[in-house]
């Protein structure tokens, strides 16, 4: 290698002086603009590490001068949303259920808000369309165990059903006629035949006639003589086509023998007053509200 720099003849570019088997490497340095941008990113990264949380430590990380965290950002965003809704939420809080229902703007807001609350808190049992299932009431229809008025729905949501932690909870229990040997086996069958008759299903007329007496003695106090039910006691109507635990004879018998008693939690403590109002408005708007 000579001391003088070597110029490649073809390209006119200086070479690095390295040579392998006669092949030389051109000395094409990085473009200036690229290099300066690179330096700029280094400077920027120093500022970044000072300003933002950046360096992991054994226990957490450096907070950075800005003190910014994703969790903090989320809190700020949630607070902003809450603030945005503050006015209308306050209005809902101050209004009665009827006032909310009669104000289209409040009604729409409450129903939309209730719909999303329902999806999060209620759909696990009642289904995403509030269509219910065996043991879980369908909230779309007009058959209400504890009442379908706005007030009644609100009361049920706020304090739950057979939820022992809440003193105001809805409470009603049907005796276990079979398990506690209140009725004989054939008496239970006769009662079931009468319930079939009440709801307009095919039944054994002779057994049903016998069952009518038993029904009046044992069941009518809560379910009513005509089987219309009683929302105060939470006794379902037996004279319609809708059943919580099924309307076939064996299902009626099973309920007579050892009734199931579903439990619904009280939501007022968990979700707060406004949310329960919104849920009541939503459930009432599903089509069965009275």
């Amino acid at each position: 290698m000579s001391e003088k720099s070597h110029i490649d003849q073809v390209s006119g570019v200086e070479t690095t002086g390295h040579e392998w088997d006669g092949i030389r490497e051109l000395n094409n340095p990085l473009p200036r603009w690229w290099l300066w941008i690179f330096y700029a990113t280094i400077v920027y990264s120093i500022g970044y590490m000072i300003w933002f949380p950046a360096i992991p430590l054994l226990n957490g990380n450096t907070p950075g001068l800005s003190g910014e965290t994703n969790r903090g950002k989320l809190q700020a965003e949630l607070a902003a949303v809450a603030q945005e809704r503050e006015a209308i939420t306050a209005q809902i809080s101050a209004s009665s259920l009827e006032e909310i229902r009669d104000n289209p703007e409040l009604q729409r807001f409450a129903a939309a808000s209730g719909s999303s609350l329902f999806k999060v808190n209620c759909s696990q049992c009642h289904g995403s369309g509030a269509q219910g299932g065996p043991g879980y009431p369908n909230l779309n229809d007009d058959d209400w165990i504890w009442g379908g008025s706005l007030e009644a729905i609100h009361q049920t949501i706020a304090h739950g059903v057979r939820f022992e932690e809440d003193d105001d909870t809805r409470f009603g229990e049907m005796p276990a006629f079979g398990r506690d040997e209140l009725l004989e086996r054939d008496e239970m069958t006769q009662t079931a035949e009468f319930v079939l008759k009440l709801s307009g299903q095919s039944h054994d007329p002779a057994a049903a006639e016998a069952g009518q007496v038993l029904f009046e003695e044992n069941c009518a106090a809560c379910h009513g003589e005509a089987g219309g039910g009683d929302v105060e006691a939470g006794a379902p109507a037996l004279n319609d086509t809708l059943w919580l635990y099924g309307g076939a004879k064996d299902q009626i018998l099973a309920q007579l023998n050892q009734p199931k008693h579903g439990v619904m939690p009280a939501w007022q403590q968990r979700l707060g007053e406004v949310a329960v109002k919104e849920l009541a408005i939503y459930v009432h708007s599903l089509g069965g509200g009275q």
Partner: protein, 537 residues
């Protein structure tokens, strides 16, 4: 040499046109060719006047349209042409287009495309030469440049001169005007998207939306960058149309043509030449000097040529001075050009490298003249007949068919719309009395600029009753055979609606039926197919 020369000798003396690429191994080829600035000279003539008129017309349409007022009553904006992005409406004089009617705009774009094909196949790149915004604005900027800095020679001199106060003053004035026009161009655009007087006031008081300022800034940048600075490079390097024109042009398309058969052999030293050995072209370069694209039209049709026809004006001016017939450069078809070339004695050859397909050595200007020095009667002329051929007729038919189709659709379109979506969950609800209830999400659109009342009923479901909680307010559920709904002007009303059938009717009911939306004030109505769901027996 003082002897008269033969045409062939003169032709041989002309420097050969080269590709500009030096010979040698590939590494010597520069991949980058710097722009050569173009100093287009002022020209007068028919096409120049036509371009002034078209420039005035197109710029006038662009700048003034948003300011036209149009009374649409109290429920709609009174701007004649308005793209209302916020409310998703497009207003065009009496026509109002909703988003779902966007196919009208799509159809008009298709028509514009076919129209471009039609114009190009008939008259070459007439769009590029006269009406393309790039051409119009470059023309505007060029005329301002000429006004501030002087004509071609003055501008060349100015650019070569060292910096001086006078030079810098001129440049600053020129670019200031350029920027003002650019701002006005960007500013005019945003007025199409909002109430123009209101927006203008907002812009000047600093209260307009950031989108307005951003749009103005971007369009100022593009107008200044593309129109004032890049100019012909946009046409040559950026625009796809010059590439497409090759597929659009054919032998019968009008293109700006230098008529070699009449002009060649060209020569300046006419007094020294033997009469009859030189063509009409005196090689004065007027056609080159006026070209805003910086090309020599005498090299034949080129990608860069936007057919602005300014070279025709320039050449006609020269021909007038020489007392020769106009039209050495003219609009002509390839077909008539080829015929005349053959007549003049040129031979068509394969090589297109530097001769645009003709061997000119045999050309003789006498052959295009008759005995008395007039034009040879055998000369081919471009006539109107060449416009009507299968290709243009097909374009016209497609253009007309789409146009008529759109007009028909416009005349018969509905001004109401009904959209019904069945609830997906639950599909149906059994009520305590055994009747079946279905729920639907309903959208009723009133596409007129006045409030209207509609009725909705279920057609084909015997005994069906409807109830929409939102419409009946807080009242007890009010089931009825039909619902009445009032929709505000130019709005879509969305609400939830229940349909109820008693148990027996539900079991017998057809699965499919129609909802009927009926305008209470006229017999305008619309059907919407819907489904009735019930428990499987």
């Amino acid at each position: 040499m003082s002897d008269p020369q033969s045409a062939a000798e003169l032709a041989a003396q002309r420097p050969k046109k080269t590709t500009g690429i030096p010979a040698g191994p590939p590494y010597e080829v520069p991949l980058y060719a710097p722009r050569e600035k173009i100093y287009a000279r002022r020209v007068r003539g028919f096409y120049r006047s036509l371009k002034w008129w078209i420039m005035g017309l197109t710029l006038g349409i662009y700048y003034l349209t948003p300011w036209l007022r149009w009374d649409r009553g109290s429920y709609a904006p009174d701007q004649a042409v308005l793209v209302d992005l916020v409310n998703r409406r497009f207003f065009f004089f009496t026509i109002e287009i909703w988003p779902q009617e966007f196919f009208f705009v799509a159809g008009m774009l298709v028509m514009a495309g076919v129209g471009l094909f039609l114009v190009t196949s008939v008259a070459g790149r007439a769009w590029c030469g006269y009406t393309c915004p790039q051409t119009v604005w470059v023309d505007l900027f060029l005329s301002i440049e000429r006004f501030v800095e002087g004509d071609r020679n003055a501008r060349i001199k100015l650019d070569k001169a060292p910096n001086s106060a006078a030079k810098i003053t001129k440049k600053v004035i020129k670019h200031s005007i350029f920027l003002m026009i650019s701002v006005a161009t960007g500013g005019a655009w945003v007025f199409y998207f909002a109430d123009a007087p209101q927006l203008a006031a907002d812009i000047f008081t600093g209260q307009a939306a950031w989108a307005a300022y951003g749009t103005i800034a971007v369009l100022t940048g593009t107008t200044y960058g593309l129109g004032a600075l890049m100019r012909e490079q946009v046409c040559t390097y950026m625009c796809p149309w010059p590439r497409i024109q090759a597929a659009m042009l054919d032998d019968k398309s009008l293109i700006v043509t230098y008529n070699d058969w009449r002009g060649e052999p060209r020569g300046k030293h006419r007094k020294r030449a033997e009469p009859g050995t030189l063509g009409d072209c005196i090689d004065c370069n007027a056609c080159v000097a006026v070209c805003p694209q910086g090309i020599d039209i005498r090299d034949g049709l080129q990608l860069e040529c936007i057919t602005c026809a300014l070279c025709i004006d320039a050449c006609n001016g020269i021909m007038d001075k020489l007392d020769k017939p106009r039209g050495l450069i003219s609009y002509a078809t390839q077909e008539s050009y080829n015929a005349n070339m053959e007549l003049a004695g040129a031979r068509q050859i394969e090589d297109r490298g530097d001769s645009h397909g003709w061997d000119m050595s045999g050309i003789n200007p006498l052959q295009v003249l008759d005995d008395k020095g007039g034009q040879n009667p055998a000369l081919a002329h471009t006539t109107l007949r060449s416009f009507f051929r299968l290709r243009t007729l097909i374009y016209m038919a497609v253009y007309g068919a789409i146009g008529l189709g759109l007009l028909g659709a416009l005349a018969t379109r509905d001004r109401l719309d009904l959209n019904v979506n069945h609830d997906r969950n639950p599909l149906f609800v059994t009520l305590s009395d055994g009747s079946i209830r279905n729920g639907y999400e309903v959208k009723v659109a009133n596409m007129l600029a006045s409030p209207r009342r509609f009725t909705i009923r279920a057609d084909g479901l015997q005994g069906a009753e409807l109830y929409a909680p939102l419409l009946s307010g807080s009242q007890e559920p009010s089931w009825a055979q039909s619902l009445s709904v009032e929709v505000p002007a130019d709005e879509t009303l969305t609400f939830h609606m229940f349909l109820r059938l008693d148990g027996q009717a539900a079991a017998a009911a057809p699965e499919r039926f129609n909802f009927v939306l009926q305008d209470a004030g006229s017999d305008e109505h619309m059907l919407e197919a819907a489904k009735f769901e019930r428990p499987t027996p």
